[in-house]
């Protein structure tokens, strides 16, 4: 396999609050390869969005990256100046968010925003930039882009706004695109349109994507690999087929079981008892142990280490459901 374009190692992000220091991301490591789609799955509060923000250097006080390493193209990002990061963001790294209304400036026309984004990183004439913007809109499926360039964000529907946000994110053919639940607020038909656009655009530009979502079904169709997060840690990674068909970690298994379409009609859904722990009170040992059907005394006492499995998989579990851990 080629070299990873993005390599995150032992990332720790903490937030100082009145209740003490909360660790939102606790030792996360993963690699992202060129043109690959990695799905980062987890429930609310699992730390998946904070991981995405950390990659772009967008963690604001009281949050801070306490330790770890984020390498883009083999160069360390942590500790770089804000100026250096700004020259990377939008050019080599880009992000799309759940609500494009927060991404787009409501008082500026679309053309102003897009031209600004192009000229921030490239010395081109305003005219040439506008032409690039027009083509970018055309590529994400916005009808009559020439007229639409003159419109304001509120004049677009939610799906169209998200397309514009994607067009802006991909303007400079970034090496890595972090997508944080970009289709969660959209209807299924619009979601399918956006996923189709993103899929073909990413293939065209060779952009690697970190796709953050709580929806396993979206990931199933889109991603090459999956990483499952729970209480600030990645508990399982592997190829989509492996993870969804032969989950190692009981939490992954529980998540898959909770998806209604996987269950027989009328029969109660397989449910995970309890709820995800508050970051202020993460249980000792394996954080999933209070909800886990397989938990033993060992689980409550010690945090399972990242253990490699066959097929380039990893899981953190004392009592795996499938597969034999590889000898270290």
């Amino acid at each position: 396999m080629s070299e990873p374009i993005l390599s995150v190692r032992d990332l720790v992000v903490t937030f100082g609050t009145r209740e003490g220091v909360l660790t939102a991301v606790n030792g996360v490591s993963f690699d992202l390869y060129p043109a690959e789609v990695l799905g980062l799955v987890g429930e609310s509060g699992s730390g998946k969005s904070v991981t995405g923000l950390a990659i772009l250097g967008l963690i604001d006080a009281p949050g801070r990256i306490a330790s770890g390493s984020i390498m883009l193209d083999g160069a360390e990002l942590l500790g770089r100046s804000e100026e250096a990061l700004r020259s990377l963001r939008g050019r080599r790294l880009a992000m799309i968010f759940q609500d494009p209304m927060n991404t787009l400036n409501p008082v500026l026309r679309i053309d102003t925003q897009m031209i600004e984004a192009i000229r921030a990183h490239e010395r081109v004439s305003e005219r040439a930039a506008r032409e690039r913007a027009r083509q970018a809109l055309l590529r994400v499926g916005i009808p009559s882009p020439e007229e639409r360039l003159d419109a304001y964000p509120h004049q677009f529907s939610g799906g169209m706004r998200q397309r514009i946000a994607i067009a802006i994110a991909l303007l400079h053919r970034p090496a890595v695109l972090v997508a944080d639940e970009p289709t969660t607020a959209l209807d299924v038909t619009i979601q399918a349109q956006i996923l189709a656009e993103v899929q073909s655009l990413a293939a065209e530009t060779g952009t690697a994507m970190l796709w953050i979502t709580h929806d396993l079904s979206v990931i199933a169709g889109l991603a090459d690999r999956i990483a499952v997060m729970y209480a600030g840690r990645i508990v399982e990674t592997g190829s989509v087929v492996d993870v969804l068909e032969r989950p190692i970690h009981p939490y992954t298994d529980g998540l898959i079981g909770s998806v209604p379409s996987r269950n027989k009609r009328g029969v109660p859904l397989a449910q995970i008892p309890g709820m995800a722990p508050s970051l202020a009170r993460v249980p000792p040992g394996c954080p999933f142990s209070p909800r886990c059907p397989r938990a033993t005394v060992t689980c409550r006492g010690t945090m399972p280490a990242e253990t490699p499995y066959a097929g380039a998989r990893m899981a953190r579990c004392h009592h795996p459901l499938a597969g034999e851990p590889l000898a270290a």
Binding site: D187, Q193, S217, P260, A270, Q271
Partner: protein, 348 residues
């Protein structure tokens, strides 16, 4: 289907935005502006049998929430009749009407918007049954504890405020509040949409358990087809204010008839579809301010022909218990079956 508990007969709901002063002045000078009318629900007839779970699905803006509110009695229809146990609400006496209204309760999507943040849970759940004389004021506390246990909440937390609960627990408070007035019908408007999957599974299981315990009837409004497939007996698919298909859930999901239902099902992401090629229904749902003539779906429909552009298709029975509003069913010859190729590819 059992005897219908709720019947909608030719129900429409129009929302009118009257002209403001400036527009009226403009009209004096011949601007020719008229009131803006949104037909949120456009001539819908639907019967819900006693003890049945009907799923109502569609995209944002199709009118499914408005229809749910009409069923719950929160909105009155502009045209048409809503019958509860065979009797139209206009013909009921005051006391009967109140009883009928209590019998249909609604559970909302966002518990933070539907629970009063300044009231304690015991007051939120207990107020309505006391006001309506279901329990005496002295028995309220015990009654609330019982309701909380029924929905899986710890009665010890009844003195707390809504913000002290998690999202899943707040959803349960909303359910307990609705159950406290002993309803026969629950209208759930996207009641699990804001919850994480593992919590959503818990709440859906609760709905199914309560259905058996209390013999409840549900109208389950959702954009999530996976949830509806799991919980509903029959499914109604709405598009731009109209029901385009109505059939038993198994039939809708295994052999959808209407091209819109087919397209909608095609785009549901599924765990089984590994690395599929997303292909998409073109366009977006048109504005209900200016719905297209004829079949509302024709501008996006791959099979639309001349008649679809002028003639509104009626919701017709195409097989026992199965209804669809599509002109293709009147055409001779084989129907175009697989609309979008990738479903066949994903299945193969």
């Amino acid at each position: 289907m059992n005897a219908p508990i709720i019947e909608l007969d030719g129900v429409s709901k129009r929302f009118v935005k009257p002209l403001d002063a400036a527009e009226k002045v403009a009209n004096l000078f011949g601007a020719g502006l008229s009131d803006e009318v949104v037909r949120a629900v456009d001539d819908v007839s639907l019967a819900i049998g006693e003890g049945e779970v009907v799923g109502l699905v569609g995209e944002s803006g199709c009118g499914k929430s408005t229809l749910g509110r009409i069923v719950a009695g929160i909105l009155d229809p502009s045209i048409g009749i809503v019958r509860f146990k065979g009797r139209a609400s206009e013909t009921l006496s005051g006391a009967e009407r109140r009883a009928a209204q209590l019998a249909v309760q609604m559970i909302f999507q966002d518990p933070m918007a539907s629970l009063n943040p300044r009231r304690r849970v015991v007051e939120i759940i207990g107020e309505a049954p006391v006001v309506h004389g279901i329990v005496p004021a002295a028995g309220m506390d015990a009654y609330v504890c019982e309701m909380m246990r029924r929905v899986g909440l710890d009665p010890a937390s009844r003195r707390r405020y809504p913000h002290q609960f998690s999202g899943g627990q707040r959803a349960r408070i909303g359910i307990a509040r609705a159950l406290a007035v002993r309803p026969q019908v629950l209208v759930c408007d996207e009641s699990t949409a804001a919850l994480d999957v593992s919590i959503q599974a818990q709440v859906l299981n609760l709905f199914m358990r309560l259905r058996q315990e209390f013999g409840l009837t549900y109208l389950f409004v959702s954009h999530d087809l996976g949830v509806v497939q799991h919980i509903a007996d029959r499914v109604a698919v709405m598009y731009l204010g109209r029901i385009v298909e109505l059939a038993p859930a198994d039939a809708v999901f295994s052999a959808p008839n209407h091209p819109y239902t087919q397209a909608l099902l095609d785009e549901v992401p599924r765990l089984e579809a590994k690395k599929k090629k997303f292909s998409a229904l073109k366009g977006e749902i048109p504005s209900p301010l200016r719905p297209p003539p004829g079949c509302h779906f024709h501008p996006r429909c791959p099979f639309a022909f001349a008649r679809c552009r002028v003639d509104r298709p009626a919701l017709k029975e195409i097989a026992p218990d199965r209804f669809s509003a599509c002109h293709l069913n009147d055409e001779p010859g084989p129907r175009p079956g697989k609309v979008f190729e990738h479903r066949a590819a994903a299945a193969g």
